[in-house]
């Protein structure tokens, strides 16, 4: 019996809305409701970055929410996976190019799974999370190997810092 294989049965999800229209958020909540009931796979919507494995981001990143997004991402302990949920989170969607929007999530944090749709259907979200689980398992193994073989620590994407992001905000009207 390999105990490590049971680890992927309990992904805890953190849901963050970076400034969308709440359409995708409602669909995420629908996943928790009796019809889809993702708790049968052991998923919980925790709301606490320090205890979660999967970051579900919805909505385009606005100028004010990007610091929070990076902060939340930095607070999650490795291994962690990011899913951008919906057209806005993946590319900016209909908000792309607006004065208050920065565009997709992947400009600020490394995204592993993109889920399309406006808004995404619950089936698609569940499918995206299942794909994310395979990536999570792979990342866990990489981390363990780096500890066992005393290799250099695995660097996930770019080591982002809140200050890098913060100093760019400039007044729109000058």
């Amino acid at each position: 019996m390999n105990l490590a294989s049971y680890r992927k049965k309990s992904p805890w999800i953190l849901h963050y809305n970076a400034g969308g229209c709440n359409g995708c958020d409602i669909e995420i909540l629908a996943c928790l409701a009796p019809k889809y009931d993702i708790e049968r796979f052991g998923m919980i919507n925790t709301g606490n970055p320090k205890q979660s494995d999967i970051l579900l981001v919805t909505g385009p990143v606005t100028k004010r929410s990007r610091e929070r997004l990076v902060e939340i991402y930095a607070q999650m302990p490795e291994p962690k996976v990011v899913i951008s949920c919906g057209a806005c989170a993946s590319t900016g969607g209909v908000f792309r190019g607006m004065y208050n929007c920065e565009g997709g999530v992947d400009q600020f944090i490394p995204v592993d799974v993109y889920v399309c749709g406006c808004g995404t259907r619950p089936e698609q979200i569940i499918d995206g999370v299942v794909q994310a689980l395979a990536i999570l398992e792979k990342k866990t193994k990489e981390l363990e190997e780096s500890v066992k073989l005393k290799r250099e620590a695995v660097k996930e994407g770019h080591q982002l810092n809140r200050r890098h992001i913060a100093d760019e905000i400039k007044p729109v009207l000058s």
């Binding site: 309990s10 049968r40 320090k50 302990p77 490795e78």
Partner: protein, 279 residues
């Protein structure tokens, strides 16, 4: 020999039992909402996953307090099952809760502080009732030892039914169940005192929650004395009552909780004490 062996086995298996109980509770709760619910061993899957996460801590004292919360709670449970002093058990439990509250205050997160405040208020709500309960048991048996309660042939339930009702009223506060879950309040302050724990250190707090289940159900079992059948009935009743209550009620504010527990539950326990001491 036998009266030592069974408690020792129970004490050693307590986290396992509590985990199974928690898993079963999640299934029952899901079925009450017409969902399928997670597998029975889900708490243990969570346990394995949390062990593999990167170890992050706010500061070492915070992590230490979290682990000591678990250890002291297990110790309190051991004293309870081995037939120790009931007052001692209640204060050991209070010690373990206060360690967690201290851990909550030791970080700089406002949610953690808010949770610690509320946890302290919950202690204020249920602790007097438990103390009165212990005093009533002393009035009946002439001793605080739980060993005397476990071996007495006449169940406590028939002698002090009001105290049992009072215990039922404060159990949701102790187990952080709705409507009295202000201390945890996952949608509001995302877990309160346990907010800043992560990975291996959250595991200690998470497992302590399972131990708390075993502790509370042992308190319920105390009312059956040596009558095991009645004890099992009481356990099943309490389990269903707690889950039905948790599923069907909304959270009340801490003031309402305090007013209810000190107004209704405390007076019930006190009337019970008066009756016991008069007869």
């Amino acid at each position: 020999m036998n009266d030592v062996l069974i408690p020792v086995i129970l004490i050693l298996l307590a986290p396992l039992l509590g985990g199974l109980l928690y898993g079963f509770e999640r299934i029952v709760k899901a079925r009450m909402q017409r969902r399928i619910g997670p597998p029975l061993l889900q708490p243990f899957y969570d346990f394995l996953k949390l062990a593999g996460k990167r170890r992050m801590m706010v500061h070492s004292a915070h992590a230490f307090l979290g682990i000591m919360h678990f250890v002291s709670l297990w110790f309190a449970l051991a004293v309870l099952l081995l037939g120790g002093d009931l007052i001692l058990v209640i204060f050991l439990h209070l010690l373990s809760t206060s360690l967690l509250i201290l851990a909550g205050y030791s970080t700089r997160s406002i949610f953690s502080h808010l949770g610690a405040n509320r946890a302290a208020i919950s202690v204020l709500a249920y602790e007097p009732v438990l103390i009165i309960l212990a005093v009533s048991i002393f009035m009946l048996n002439g001793t605080f030892d739980t060993a005397a309660v476990f071996t007495s042939s006449e169940p406590l339930l028939y002698k002090m039914p009001l105290a049992f009702i009072a215990l039922l009223l404060v159990l949701p506060i102790k187990l952080k169940k709705s409507p009295f879950d202000v201390a945890e309040a996952h949608q509001e302050i995302t877990g309160g005192v346990e907010l800043e724990f992560s990975g291996l250190f959250y595991e200690a707090v998470y497992t302590a929650k399972w131990l708390d289940y075993v502790f509370c159900y042992t308190l319920v079992f105390l009312f059956a004395g040596s009558n095991i059948l009645l004890g099992a009935g009481l356990l099943v009743f309490t389990f269903l009552y707690l889950n039905a209550l948790d599923n069907s009620t909304a959270r009340v504010s801490y003031k309402q909780m305090l007013r209810f527990s000190l107004g209704v539950a405390f007076s019930l326990a006190f009337i019970n004490l008066l009756i016991n001491s008069l007869t």
